[in-house]
Symmetry: C2
Subunit: 375 residues, 2 copies
């Protein structure tokens, strides 16, 4: 029961709130770069995939609802939605009839209820032209919005978060037991398999919920951090840094600063799929057609994060909630990330930055018309 | 310019957040009592005023959206919406056809962006049957939602908050200059008039925004704290306590604890209309018919707030944001509310509790069909 509670850690997964030194808002320059690239891809993909007349006629009032799933804090989320709205308005002009009514937009910002919505709301642009803002707190692995009420969905750097740590990797009697590792980067195949299966279930849950919420021909744009299909030994990956963080926890356990059992039961519920795997997982769903999967390589993470401290701040902003939830007061978080900075400085990330390449997949999905999935 | 900024204090009007000693959530038992009474009135009024078939057919999907304007924190808001949903579901049963689709509900929680939405979301019931939750941050004196997307609106103990302090009462050259008083209870008629005019403008702005957001025949239920048409000298009112708070600030200015000029420029933007005035103000709008105005008298405020400290905590929970916004660090808030407790203990509120009677107006408005207000 206690284990069960620990595995349902969605409440602890929100990024660090506020606008301070350790906040996600201040320490997400890497993610912002990824999103800027994604915006260009959306601008390119939108005209070819959207049937605006169809979308806006699906409601008696011309309202187009656009949601960001996993919005976190900062301006990034609303700026992405504003980009989509501007892009749609450009598309309307040629088709707009004189008698057509004025389109309205609603931006729906989703994240876990523990996300710092107060900071998100405080940072919203005071002037919001032609769109209204609503927030939908809750897990995007379940239903959040009324049926057939959503026209466009967007999710950036969020879907790699799993809804839970896969149960079997915490089970000492299982072959998938992950020991004192906190991620799967150098784990046995069974551990990787357990993570992968959880990712498959979570993506299915996400798509099933969105399928009910979206109108026919509605579009999903998603940016999913991933791994190359083959990871060469000479390459470092996002997983390498999580391994580094894990080794700091092991050091702290050896020094008696945290309990070994707590380290063994801690795992980061993040999974980076390969392109092939992502395509298979999405391909299994009955509701959406894949219109595009594009791989982007970001070889310059070490430029956005040019010092060990900035890398450490990024990992702290995304994992502090999770760590404190698991370890409680026992863990001196400053100590952990100080150790992380020291190790990172000597890691391939800084010693061989050219070998550090992160991958994201930009995916465009189109909701089938509801008749097509009724059988 | 500085004065202009100070008057636009909507950002500071949110109730105290969190769940702690000074929070609104813990110090709103009086308001909760008012809302419980209002729920009974909604249950009674709803069947006679709602045309559910009409409402649910106004959308291609059977979604009914219910918004609370001025939700603050705590469970009160969502419980009120749950009551309305249960009431609607009871009404549906007799009319539901076998082929009718399943109705869905969306609860929309509105308050200022500075409201503590984090606490509100954390306290939401984890199991939410048949309804989805969204938040719409912003001032309810302006547009918040897309056109014709809202079916039922509710607002309890919120519409007496003005959007700003009336400009003229801060102008030393005006006959409406309010001096060192912080409210209008014992002010010249010009001050009362300025407050009253602001209330009229604000109510008009609220109704105009809702008129655009609501579907034809949509309903508004509002609970507005007010004053009896004639206030006898022997009666104390909500305004009396604000006067008491003002006298504490004057004492502090005399003792050099705050500046006299700051006290003179501080006014609480709250107005308690009489029934006649409320009826006139609402009657001026072109969009809604008044279906009901019912006066409720709550003679037992001193029972919910049985000690000077609990009365002090209520006034602190609702005004601390406003006070700190205006006075800044200069004001020792503990000192102010300690003085308030001492004065309250010797005030008619506790010496003659039987003469303390608060009044609320329960109002039901029905949106005219849009054709009716097109000319």
């Amino acid at each position: 029961m206690d284990d069960e509670r620990k595995m349902s850690i969605t409440g602890a997964m929100a990024m660090n709130g506020g606008n301070g030194h350790y906040s996600y808002a201040l320490n997400s320059s890497y993610q912002k770069g990824v999103i800027v690239a994604a915006m260009d891809m959306i601008k390119e993909a939108l005209p070819a995939t959207v049937d605006l007349n169809h979308l806006s006629s699906s409601s008696p009032n011309p309202i187009i609802r656009i949601a960001d799933f996993g919005c976190s804090t900062g301006l990034t989320s609303i700026q992405a939605i504003e980009t989509i709205i501007r892009c749609l308005l450009d598309l309307i002009k040629p088709v707009e009839q004189p008698q057509s009514r004025t389109l309205e937009f609603q931006a729906i910002l989703n994240d876990l209820p523990t996300n710092d919505f107060n900071t998100l709301f405080a940072d919203l642009p005071p002037e919001r032209r032609r769109y209204y803002v609503a927030a939908a707190p809750g897990s995007f692995h379940g239903r959040l919005l009324p049926s057939a009420s959503l026209h466009l969905a967007y999710s950036s750097c969020a879907l790699h978060w799993l809804s839970r740590v896969p149960q079997e990797i915490l089970d000492k009697s299982s072959r998938a037991w992950n020991g004192e590792r906190i991620h799967y980067a150098s784990s046995p195949a069974e551990v990787v398999g357990a993570y992968s299966a959880q990712f498959g279930r979570d993506m299915e849950a996400f798509l099933s919920a969105r399928a009910e919420e979206m109108v026919g021909e509605g579009l999903i744009f998603m940016v999913v951090p991933g791994e190359p299909d083959l990871v060469h030994d000479s390459r470092t990956t996002m997983g390498s840094e999580l391994e580094l963080l894990g080794s700091c926890l092991v050091d702290m356990a050896k020094a008696g600063a945290v309990s070994k059992a707590k380290v063994e039961s801690f795992n980061v519920p993040i999974y980076f799929p390969s392109r092939k795997e992502l395509q298979q997982v999405i391909g299994r769903n009955r509701f959406f057609d894949i219109r595009k999967i594009q791989t982007s390589s970001h070889p310059k993470m070490h430029v956005a994060l040019s010092t060990p401290e900035s890398l450490s701040l990024l990992y702290r902003a995304v994992s502090e909630g999770l760590l404190l939830h698991h370890f409680g007061d026992e863990l001196i978080i400053d100590d952990l990330f100080h150790r992380f900075s020291l190790k990172a400085a000597k890691s391939p990330f800084f010693l061989k930055p050219e070998s550090h390449e992160t991958i994201t997949f930009f995916v465009v999905l189109k909701r089938k018309k509801s008749e097509e999935n009724m059988q």
